[in-house]
Amino acid sequence: MTTTENNPAHTRSMHRASGVKLKLTLRDIAQMIFFALLIRPFMALFIGLRVRGREHLTETEPFILIANHSSHLDTISLLSLFPIHRLRYVRPVAAADYFERSRRVSLLTRTLFNILPIARKSITPENNPLRRMQEAIEAGYSLIIFPEGTRGEGGEMGRFRAGAAHLLEKMPGVPVIPAYLVNMGRSLPKGELIPVPFFCEVRLGAPRVIGGARQDIVRSLESAVRELKEID
């Protein structure tokens, strides 16, 4: 295992770059209002979201939040966990070919969710996803990454892809927060428009610094999320 959660040499670097202050834009305010008035009441009263390990979110910044993926609710519920004034520091990494498929969808996802669109196909030096993510972290953003790369079906977690590991290899020392999301895929599965209010849960793990060879990082990320799946 390459997890070095308790290694003091790494804990120092965990607080790197925190304290960066991003300017408040109109977009940020729109997002804050959207979350305060719609998303949070929706999560509390309709979904009845339960959160375990919420304290892990405020320990360090920036971070990379890694989670399993089965629903559009995943991103929304993860974003709903942050204090409203920290919301603009968190960007979900999202597939450009899907979330930028039309002007309208793109405007919506960029404005309300502050997505970091990345290319899945026809990658050029300009749109290189790694570079985009690296730049975002250097600018002071934290990222939400779903390493499965797409929404899974039937409640089983898919294999993790190497993108997030690649990023961690380039930026060692950025802490990872693992998360496991329960029942989101039941509430709003792929291909459905209207959610069914199953109770959903977010389980967050302690932030950790993960290093090593790329394949080791992939494995560590996957087992960190799987570990949270097992607890009950």
């Binding site: 039937g154 029942n183 599965p189 459905e192 069914v196 209010p197 109770f199």
Partner: protein, 321 residues
């Protein structure tokens, strides 16, 4: 004597509020005394339960005192939350999704019939919407998803939940909006207070009798904590207590006793049925929204059974139409 006269002059709803307040104060003091008497034993769950009762009593009185519309929204939300707890524990199939959306849409619709003016014509709709229309529509929606494996199970378990938690509980809301029972002081509001107080007190008293004197298990395969002593002691003492709040009802003394026995036994049936459901799901509680009690369903389980029984008793024998 003056105090008693003053008490008689305030409205039945407020008189009931004072009564509940004194019950809660007594319960709180009792728990504090027990804790001091036996400091070595852990009574934190008991204390949490009593605290939760304070919150529930305040919320409930608030919900039924503000306005009819507010009460309806409150009861609709109870049904919604209960249904959420139920379906989360169900084994659902991906093919059930659209039928489940319909199921949840049925909740506001069922309460909408109650909100409509002119109760007479809409009572019919209220009483057949779920048992007839939803019963026919849901399987059609399930059939359209073209998945036959587990079809009957899905259709049955969804309809069962709708009947118990939406249809059953909505009787409380309908009863609440009944203006007045001819020739008495009783209104829908006072009847709901009577029903909820007797059924919930019966739950609490069954628990207390069972904990203190319980020896003989009544349904060990379903709920090992339920005893004959708890059952009999609970319904007897709740029935006795109901005589103290007869001012909320149009009933004579004998009738109050009969009605209270009926609803406490029905409430026990509801609680036991929900225990069987929990057994089937392999869980102890339906959720964790109410500290010390579990989920919303763990609190309203007896009412799901008692409410329709009480409602139809009153409607038949003290018809308001």
């Amino acid at each position: 004597m003056n105090m008693l006269a003053a008490l008689k002059s305030i409205s039945p709803v407020w008189r009931m509020g004072l009564l509940v307040l004194s019950v809660l104060v007594i319960a709180t003091i009792a728990v504090a005394v027990i804790r001091r008497a036996k400091p070595q034993k852990d009574f934190s769950e008991l204390a949490a339960r009593v605290r939760a009762w304070w919150v529930m009593a305040v919320v409930f009185f608030g919900a039924i005192a503000v306005s009819d519309l507010f009460s309806l929204i409150f009861f609709a939300f109870l049904s919604f939350w209960a249904m959420k707890e139920y379906i989360t524990l169900l084994e659902t199939r991906p093919a059930d999704h659209k039928a489940l959306v319909l199921t949840f849409l049925a909740i506001p619709v069922q309460y909408f019939w109650i909100a409509l003016p002119g109760r007479g014509p809409w009572y019919g709709m209220f009483i057949i919407f779920i048992p007839v229309f939803m019963f026919l529509i849901l399987p059609v929606r399930l059939m359209l998803s073209k998945e036959t494996v587990g079809f009957v199970r899905s259709a049955s378990q969804i309809q069962w939940g709708l009947m118990a938690f939406v249809f059953g509980l909505s009787h409380l809301a309908f009863l609440l909006t009944v203006p007045s029972i001819p020739g008495t002081n009783a209104t829908g509001r006072t009847l709901v207070l009577f029903l909820v107080f007797v059924v919930e007190m019966s739950d609490v008293l069954q628990y207390i009798w069972g904990k203190t004197l319980g020896r003989h298990k009544i349904i060990p395969a379903i709920s090992p904590n339920k005893t004959w002593e708890g059952f009999l002691g609970g319904i007897a003492s709740a029935t006795l207590l109901s005589l103290a709040i007869r001012f909320l009802t149009p009933f004579s003394i004998l009738e109050t006793i009969i009605v209270s026995l009926m609803i406490t036994v029905a409430g026990f049936g509801g609680g036991a049925v929900m225990s069987a459901v929990k057994r089937d799901f392999g869980v102890k509680d339906f959720g964790s929204v109410i500290p010390g009690h579990g989920g919303m369903l763990d609190r309203v389980d007896s009412l799901c059974y008692a409410a329709p029984i009480f409602f139809h008793y009153v409607r038949y024998f003290h018809s308001w139409d």
